[in-house]
């Protein structure tokens, strides 16, 4: 069974692996230790000590607070809200809803018609990193797209105790 070390996980996150290495990882059965090593590597990369329960996006994590709360938190340490709430409503949102704004990122005439589709970009209010991008019809609600059942995941899927410290 495949086994990878922390160095490999760091390279995976940084995107510095050669394609053949990635291909080998994708084509093998998933290594049973993967989640734990991956979580540890993510934890080492952040400056705060709340234990990470689950990666939640490119820069977001669900972390365990000492008071028992589970909070969505950014790389930089900015805390959004409880993971059952919609973190997007606490982010800075930039909506590209005019041709002019579209043309900043698309060649002319190659972007969607803003009457039909807009691009919503979510940013961290603290460090301004881009957290999420959606291409949706203008009237579309801001949806909480991921509501994990963390307890079941730990208890029944990976059969491990929940991390209690960083």
């Amino acid at each position: 069974m495949a086994k990878y070390d922390k160095k490999r996980m760091n390279e995976l996150i940084d995107g510095t692996l050669e394609f053949y290495q990635l291909k080998e990882m994708m084509s093998s059965h998933k290594d049973p230790e993967r989640f734990e090593i991956y979580r540890e590597v993510l934890q080492e990369r952040v400056s705060w000590d709340d234990p990470i329960l689950l990666p939640y996006g490119l820069h977001l994590y669900i972390v365990q607070k000492s008071d028992g709360d589970r909070i969505v938190k950014c790389d930089c340490g900015h805390e959004f809200c409880n993971y059952k709430e919609n973190w997007k409503l606490h982010a800075r949102i930039f909506v590209r809803d005019t041709e002019e704004k579209m043309n900043e990122i698309y060649p002319k005439l190659m972007s969607p018609d803003p009457e039909w589709q807009v691009i919503r970009e979510y940013y961290c209010p603290n460090c301004a990193v881009q957290l999420e991008v959606e291409a949706v019809p203008p009237w579309y609600p801001i949806i909480l797209d991921f509501e994990p059942d963390i307890d079941t995941f730990y208890k029944e899927w990976i059969k491990r105790p929940m991390p209690t410290k960083a």
């Binding site: 069974m1 394609f19 291909k23 994708m26 084509s27 059965h29 998933k30």
Partner: protein, 710 residues
């Protein structure tokens, strides 16, 4: 004292193997390190090593050799590792990105089924010709061969000059539908050659119509690029090998194994087809052996360490795939058609963590055998480990004892990785793995034969390769083959096949000739003339190739073939023409008759659809000249009881729930006429034949085992 007859060379990336076959079909194998800069040094070392086993020397034996056939991986390596020549590409203006983007399926060619449906694993290799060395020239020819846009002459010079300025070493020209209208490509070729000459440069120009005048532009372009990129650089290497062999006393013309199943001269115009020659050696050997034995239909099966290859010989002919792939590129080369699945004796055995069942391969240990080979440094169980656990492989006599295997290591690994997770005894787990492998191979073999419209009962099964005979009983059980044959020289069968290959050129050309069911005579004559013109053109090409080795056209046995289908259907059939030339309507009738006979055999008589009319989609010419070939052994018959000195003793093995005592024989010492009962294991240096319960093996006068299900 052996008398060497045939030299077969297999120059791999690391090792060069030479097989020297004597007049009895016996052979020795020599090994030496490949010397990539001067391949002939490694080759001669390897031959020296081989001949030392017969206590003789190159100086003694080389002058006796009647033929020599080379196959090597240098070209393929050049392709795979993208270290070929700097090639420039001329295409239709507006099509410059086509080669770079490639055909979609090239992103998953060679992948396992699970990876093919997992799109994240799909990946395009870097193109052979980068975009900056691709130039466009305006012209357009439609699929009927009519000029829609004339060639823009004034664009030729600047385009070629740009490639010269980029310092390319070769130029490939490929226009859409050029196989229907070659004039534009040829004009660009001629002008390019003039410009190159004027610039005083040494750049060879390849127009696709001069090499592969066939439909499918990605295939045609890729193949011609491969010719310029990877094959052309091998010419000098081959010439050096040829002259080194001649200096060592040989008098034959060195030939190379080519994808169409024949061998060609090292001076041949098209060398790209020698890129893929390794695995077809066995098929060619099987065809030769089948001819000698008078068998018409043969199913060939070959298990090596990494794959299971199967192919059919039907009515004495190898099937040809005209658009195969290689090194993840679609090509238009005629390749002996074979089906391959990634299951061999070196396949890794794992328990799927999601479902808890055994999964085999698709990756394998290759030369590292398995956990049982301490030098291999592996820790995942392979099929070979299971053989060692069951006692089917003698750990002290693997490859003639060169490698010592550890039964303890295999046992521990199978126990920990397979038996314990499944809750089975170690022996049952190992037996289960073998059964799983064999039933996969059996299904694969059966579905391949049924899928082509035939039934196993019409075929004799040949089994060869290092791992084949170990599993033959298992994967042929219950399929009802007419007979199951295992040549005693199974392990070297591929090399034997290279030595047995014809000296043969084959050239293809795409045609689009449509004739209605009840056509006017004038239409039929016009169609016939077009077909005959194509045959004449290809015959000339073949004759020119043979001229390079001083054969005159009278020495060549020309065989004309055509590809035909009902109009509007998707698949054509390749058929040998029953006529020697097209003269009149009568010949048309016999072309139709032969096509319909073939069609009825492959599909069904009820499917004949003459009302659709006929299409001739291609013309093919094959030219063959006589060359020396290895002899098939012919020995007197002895009694049914094996001689005492062939018996090596007994060994405990585990089979289907019980421990048994198996008789062990030395394969080479068995005599023709011997009948070997179950449970027996016949050991040879590089292969092992298992005769399990319910089977017996009979060795005939040609030293071929017949494995019979009782």
């Amino acid at each position: 004292m052996a008398k060497s007859q045939i030299l077969a060379i297999d120059a791999g990336g690391t090792m060069t193997d030479t097989f020297i076959i004597d007049e009895n079909g016996d052979f020795v194998v020599g090994k030496a390190q490949t010397t990539p800069l001067d391949e002939h040094i490694g080759l001669l070392n390897s031959a020296r090593d081989a001949l030392s086993q017969w206590d003789t020397k190159i100086e003694e034996e080389f002058p006796k050799l009647l033929a020599g056939v080379y196959s090597g991986t240098a070209m393929l390596n050049r392709l795979v590792s993208r270290v070929g020549r700097r090639v420039g590409l001329v295409v239709n203006k507006g099509m410059e990105d086509n080669h770079r983007m490639g055909r979609g399926l090239q992103s998953f060619l060679g992948y396992s089924y699970s990876d093919r449906i997992h799109i994240n694993t799909h990946h395009f290799d870097s193109p052979l010709v980068p975009r900056k060395w691709t130039v466009g020239i305006t012209e357009r020819v439609d699929l009927f061969g009519s000029v829609v846009i004339p060639l823009y002459d004034h664009e030729i010079e600047p385009a070629i000059q740009k490639l010269i300025d980029e310092d390319v070493e070769a130029i490939v020209i490929s226009f859409l539908h050029s196989y229907k209208y070659p004039a534009h490509e040829r004009k660009v070729r001629d002008i390019a050659e003039q410009i190159i000459k004027k610039a005083n440069k040494d750049i060879k120009v390849f127009a696709t119509v001069d090499y592969y005048p066939v439909r499918k532009e990605s295939h045609r372009t890729n193949t011609t690029i491969v010719e310029a990129y990877a094959a052309e650089p091998s010419r000098q290497t081959l010439a050096n090998i040829d002259s080194a062999l001649r200096e060592a006393g040989t008098e034959f013309d060195l030939r190379i194994m080519a994808s169409h199943g024949g061998t060609i001269s090292i001076k041949a115009n098209e060398l790209a087809r020698t890129c893929v020659s390794g695995p077809i050696g066995g098929m060619v050997g099987a065809k030769y052996l089948a001819e000698k034995l008078g068998l018409k239909n043969v199913a060939c099966s070959d298990i090596g360490g990494t794959s299971f290859d199967i192919g059919l010989i039907t009515q004495g002919e190898l099937a040809i795939n005209t658009s195969p792939d290689m090194a993840r590129l679609v090509l238009s080369l005629p390749l002996v058609s074979m089906d391959t699945t990634g299951a061999g004796t070196g396949s890794f055995v794992r328990i799927d963590p999601n479902y808890g069942n055994i999964s085999l391969g698709p990756d394998s240990a290759g030369s590292r055998v398995g956990v049982c080979y301490p030098g291999g440094g592996l820790d995942t169980v392979t099929v070979s480990d299971c053989h060692v656990v069951l006692g089917l492989i003698n750990p002290n006599n693997f490859i003639g004892g060169i490698i010592k295997l550890s039964k303890e290591k295999a046992y521990e690994a199978v126990k920990k990785q397979v038996a314990e997770p499944l809750g089975l005894s170690v022996e049952d787990a190992a037996f289960g793995v073998i059964q799983l492998l064999e039933s996969q191979l059996r299904n694969y073999l059966e579905s391949m034969i049924l899928g082509k419209g035939y039934s196993p009962s019409q075929y004799v099964c040949f089994s060869y390769g290092g791992g084949g005979p170990l599993h033959t009983a298992g994967y042929t059980k219950g399929l009802g083959f007419e007979d199951v044959l295992i040549p005693a020289w199974a392990a070297g069968f591929s090399a034997f096949g290279c030595g047995a290959a014809d000296f043969e050129y084959r050239y293809d050309k795409t045609l689009d000739i449509n004739v209605a069911e009840k056509a006017e005579y004038s239409d039929i004559l016009m169609a016939g003339r077009e077909l005959q013109t194509a045959w004449d053109e290809l015959k000339k090409k073949v004759a020119e190739e043979f001229k390079k080795n001083d054969y005159s056209p009278e020495d060549v046995d020309f065989r004309l073939l055509y590809r035909m289908q009902y109009q509007g259907q998707l698949n054509d059939l390749e058929i040998e023409a029953p006529i020697s030339a097209f003269h009149s309507v009568d010949e048309w009738e016999s072309l139709i008759k032969t096509f319909e006979e073939s069609y009825a055999r492959v599909y069904a008589k009820a499917a004949l659809s003459p009302e659709l009319g006929y299409s001739i989609t291609g013309a093919i010419v094959r030219g063959v000249v006589d060359v020396a070939k290895p002899q098939i052994p012919q020995e007197p018959l002895y009694g049914e009881v094996p001689p005492a000195d062939a018996f090596l003793g007994e060994r405990e093995i585990y089979w289907n729930g019980e421990f048994l005592q198996a008789n062990i024989y030395e394969m080479e010492k068995l005599l023709p006429g011997n009948r070997i009962q179950a449970f027996s294991i016949l050991e040879s240096t590089a292969t092992t034949l298992v005769v399990p319960l319910g089977f017996e093996a009979y060795l005939d006068e040609n030293r071929i085992f017949h494995l019979k299900e009782l």
